[in-house]
Amino acid sequence: MENTKTLQFEKPSFFERLKGMLGVDFYRLFHTPLFYIFLAIAAIIPALVSMGAMGEGETAGMFSNAWQIIAADNPLYIVHNMGEYANMNMVFIFGGIMVSIFIGHDYRSGYVKQLFTTHAKKEDYMISKTLVSAFSMVCMCGTYLVGGMIAGAATGLPFTINAGSLLCAILGKMIMSLGWASLYTFINIIFRRKFGISIALCFVLGTGIPVIGAAALVGNTAALNIFLYGSSVYACLSANLLSVLVCLTCSVVWAIIYNVLGSVILYHRDVY
């Protein structure tokens, strides 16, 4: 038997690898009902929030301005009422659940096994998941914004705002999607197939409870902006370009940290 196969050891570039992986992940995102369900959820949340505000009891009258459904007036890390809490930040709670299901499906289907037997690198996987998840959360922010405007109009609240601040607030929150997505991807890498734990943990962290707890101890300090939830709160209706810059820095730094940690874990543990 004459074995004539000529071996060609090719080394695909980082961008070639990432392009392929992003293509797969975006295809999956757009071809799964999960994405659209969560877009719809993000659009419905403002309606539920504003319905609560119109009712009686503690939540009644918690908004005086329709844009407060999108972001709080000021960066308040200590929450005094639901009005200060219930805004676009809630997208990140549901975003965590979506990311957990999305990555969990990679493991359940065996896709991860198929992927890591190719030339794919672990860091490519982290980056691809982070970017796709961030994109999905930006989209959720978009549908939340539309839902919030409709809900605000339906409740008859006034739309009074400094347009620049509003834009900075929305932009800041959208930018924070990157940091949140990297955190959720990291959590899912730790727990892998136990994605029930991942969902629970993403939910808890997404609510910002640890930062709200810290704020109760240290007070309403801008130092909390070093955390994802802190910066997400900082992107409020009094935001300016500095707020956007803080959000960008915080989001990118955490994204790098979580991506590096996630890659290290993937390299040092069994994949499947």
Binding site: M1, N3, T4, K5, L7, F9, E10, K11, P12, E16, R17, K19, G20, M21, G23, V24, Y27, R28, H31, T32, H105, S109, G110, Y111, V112, K113, Q114, L115, F116, T117, T118, H119, A120, K121, H268, R269, D270, V271, Y272
Partner: protein, 300 residues
């Protein structure tokens, strides 16, 4: 050149040693039949080779390079357990996704080629979850063949295949081997493996028990004459005295005599003792029998 060279490989899961100082050599272009009992460490070894598990010790080289080297990874096609497909996605789209991950240039043409190879052209538009077990196995092979890899690692690929599916699989693997592709294949269906394998590795308790070529196996598996008579016990005693060794096969009720010709045995029994042979055939120890005997010896 060896496609796979493993030295002193080990893998532990907690207290359990799944692979224990394994040595293994798979030459380029071989069809390497990887055999062992359930839990012997076959799948773990394959997962280690594919980079899905991290070795606890030892080294794995693929074409002389470290097995995690990115350049050699692009030369491997894998089917371990079931193919990693999304159930609600069509076969075609699942393959498109894998082709994208592999960075293939002519995706559609390549997918058509591999689906045709495994005779699954007609199933491209089926959702993966609607495919039968046999179809899924063939799709898994097609997945592994994407990009024309130089090494195929196949874990139990013939499970769930019907007779025709097995024949197709044999043809594909033999053809690939002739073109220089190395195939590492584990299976419990030893009869099928025997038809295609050029090399064998028998693993037990995470250790390589025996490695050999098909020629060496052939030499270790003698031909014999199997026969039946009306008085089996008496015949056996006679043949034992005459030829030194005559074994009784409990399952078939036949007597086996080694290193003789069938006509000589029949003539000897009838001519000297008036014993008529009711059935007689010449056969060879199969891989399955060889393996079972080896395992029995090891258990002792």
């Amino acid at each position: 050149m060896n496609a796979i060279e493993i030295r002193n490989l080990s893998k532990t899961f907690g207290e359990k040693r799944a692979v224990d100082g394994l040595n293994m050599t798979v030459p380029q272009g071989a069809i390497y039949g990887f055999i062992g009992e359930n839990g012997s460490g076959k799948s773990t070894t394959e997962k280690l080779i594919c980079g899905l598990l991290k070795p606890s010790g030892g080294e794995i080289k693929l074409w002389g390079k470290e097995h995690r080297d990115q350049t050699v990874r692009s030369q491997i096609g894998v089917l371990i357990e079931a193919p990693g497909c999304f159930p609600n996605t069509t076969v075609w789209n699942n393959m498109k996704l894998q082709a994208a991950n592999l960075g293939l240039k002519n995706e559609d043409g390549e997918i058509r080629r591999v689906l045709h190879l495994v005779r699954m052209d007609g199933a491209a538009n089926n959702k993966f979850k609607n495919c039968s077990l046999g179809m899924k196995q063939r799709i898994g092979i097609a997945f592994a063949l994407l990009g024309n890899p130089a090494l195929l690692v196949l874990d139990e690929p013939i499970n769930g295949l019907d007779a025709d599916g097995m024949r197709i699989m044999r043809e594909i693997l033999t053809d690939l081997s002739h073109r220089g592709t190395t195939v590492l294949i584990s299976s419990h269906i030893l009869g099928e493996l025997e038809k295609i394998a050029t090399h064998y590795g028998i693993i037990r308790g995470g250790k390589m028990l025996r490695e050999m070529t098909a020629e060496q196996l052939n030499a270790d598996c003698p031909t014999y004459v199997a026969l039946k008579t009306d008085d089996i016990e008496k015949t056996r005693d006679i043949l034992q005295r005459a030829f030194g060794r005559a074994d009784m096969d409990e399952q078939t009720g036949e007597i086996r005599v080694y290193g003789v010709l069938a006509q000589d045995v029949a003539k000897y029994l009838f001519g000297n003792f008036g014993i008529a042979v009711s059935e007689i055939r010449t056969a060879k120890i199969s891989l399955e029998e060889y393996y079972i005997n080896l395992m029995q010896e090891e258990r002792k």
